[in-house]
């Protein structure tokens, strides 16, 4: 048994470490995040292109990425939102984890230089390019109930898209984790209410997600439940699978914070 004095010293040391990590995570890290990608800044060369797919409004696509490949998601019309879940190819019990993504990075705001974590303390994908920086990790995608409430009819929705996509890779309802939604400018106001910041959407916005493990991604192109447009004005989105360099030792995402340096090390061990 530890003495009361020793226990107090340990808890004080743990509190100090926590405060140091918080200060680093909420003061130093945001200052070193890269600027958003310019809309015309990063064309994909023909040599890097692997495949391209246009996903109509309200539909979904399943994309497998090998480690070292990336997916560009383009909101061509500026009116779409793209909800995403994903699993590790070799062990689908490992999957994206929005809560850890937010908690470990001390922020519910996803942008260039950030990562999306799996539930195993590893980096699932890195956000290597991002023109938008307005994404949602908290509210999730549309459902039969949310479309009924918003449009007066149970329309195609993200929940059922995820179910259909999961079934086609041998998974089901139990395997659908909370999702991230790109191009969904959601924030939390001072009273705790969710706010939709419509001014943060532009035609041509894109993100590039670099796979840090072999992943199966499902992307659903349905209006976000907080999108106020009635009826939905969601447009086609473009998905471009392409080759990118592996995360170098000085890679921006890899080195963004002490926590993420560790998460990359744990991910590298999987493939060492």
């Amino acid at each position: 048994m530890l003495s009361a004095e020793t226990k107090r010293e340990i808890s004080q040391a743990n509190r100090r470490r926590y405060e140091e990590l918080r200060a680093a995570g909420q003061e130093a890290t945001p200052n070193s995040l890269p600027d958003a990608t310019a809309l015309d800044a990063k064309p994909i060369t023909p040599e890097a292109l692997i495949s391209r797919e246009e996903v109509p409004a309200d539909w979904y696509a399943t994309v497998r990425l090998r480690r070292g490949e990336a997916l560009r998601i383009i909101d061509t019309s500026g009116r779409s939102s793209v909800s995403m879940i994903g699993w590790r190819d070799e062990d689908t019990s490992e999957r994206i984890n929005c809560a850890d993504t937010v908690k470990v990075q001390w922020s519910a705001a996803l942008s260039k230089g950030r990562v999306i974590l799996s539930d195993m303390g590893r980096v699932f994908v890195s956000v290597v390019e991002d023109t938008s920086g307005a994404h949602d990790l908290m509210v999730g995608g549309s459902t039969p109930a949310s479309t009924l409430a918003a449009f007066g009819a149970a329309l195609r929705n993200t929940h059922e898209n995820f179910l259909a996509a999961a079934a086609k890779v041998g998974l089901g309802l139990r395997d659908i984790p909370p999702c991230v939604t790109f191009f969904a400018p959601v924030s939390v106001d001072a009273k705790g209410c969710f706010v939709w910041n419509a001014g943060r959407k532009r035609p041509g916005d894109f993100v590039d997600l670099r796979a840090e493990m072999n992943v199966v991604l499902v992307l659903s192109n349905c209006a976000h439940p907080l999108d106020p447009a009635r009826p939905s004005v969601t447009g086609t989105v473009t998905l471009i699978r392409h080759r990118v360099p592996r995360a170098a030792p000085d890679d921006h995402c890899r080195t963004i914070s002490p926590e993420i340096i560790g998460a990359f090390e744990f991910t590298d061990r999987l493939y060492a």
Binding site: V102, P177, F194, F266
Partner: protein, 216 residues
């Protein structure tokens, strides 16, 4: 808010079930439709991680994102309806003497602790270990662990997105009541985390009590 003094004096005798969950330990029980579960933060500042599964079909389970979407706001509080991944109300918060609960921060795991606090903390007990063991009693696995409720856990989210686990505001004896709208498997991990303020850096026991509908 219900008066704490009145509730604890009168209701103890009418509860059909009372159990103290030791610090760092898991617990689960079937909560029948209409029954009310009270979770008491016996010594204060103790986070209680919780998951709910539909008894008839455990693939239907608590969904943090459905709950927040329906509510339109980010925190769990008196009146919050706990919504399943099929959009149905599983239970609701019917009393709350604390006022602040989270459902966005998830549970601690050995693996996320290693990332957040250094590799040696990978070998400390964590909520996900508790959930895995407790869920195994119901035929469920790690695959079934979704984003959970964190009762008595204080996680303010500011408009810029800053997301911080800060000191809990629950005082000794504060409680939250959850009344079931369907038969649910209610699973708890009494959080063992010692690396952040969610348990005041010192995990402590909690009490659970259950009432039948007629008694509430």
């Amino acid at each position: 808010m219900t008066s704490l003094a009145m509730a604890s004096a009168e209701d103890r005798s009418s509860a059909i079930y009372t159990h103290d969950i030791p610090a760092e330990r898991p617990w689960s029980r079937i909560l029948r439709r209409g029954q009310t579960l009270r979770i008491v933060d016996s010594e204060g500042q103790q986070a209680v991680d919780a998951l709910l599964y539909c008894v008839d079909d455990p693939a239907e389970r608590y969904s943090a994102q459905d709950t927040l979407r329906v509510q339109g706001s980010a925190y769990i509080e008196l009146g919050t309806r706990l919504v399943s991944n099929k959009g149905r109300v599983m239970a609701r918060i019917t009393a709350d003497s604390c006022g602040r609960h989270d459902t966005s921060a998830g549970c601690c795991s050995c693996e996320s602790n290693a990332v957040r606090f250094g590799e040696p903390t990978k070998y400390q007990h964590a909520c996900r270990e508790n959930f895995i063991l407790e869920l195994s009693k119901h035929g469920l696995t790690k695959r079934d662990i979704v984003a959970n409720l964190n009762f008595f856990m204080n996680v303010p989210i500011d408009p810029s997105g800053n997301f911080t686990v800060v000191d809990g505001i629950s005082a000794p004896g504060n409680y939250v009541d959850i009344t079931a709208d369907m038969d649910v498997i209610f699973v708890i991990s009494n959080c063992p985390q010692v690396n952040n303020p969610c348990n005041g850096f010192d995990p402590t026991p909690i009490r659970v009590m259950i009432w039948d509908p007629a008694a509430v």
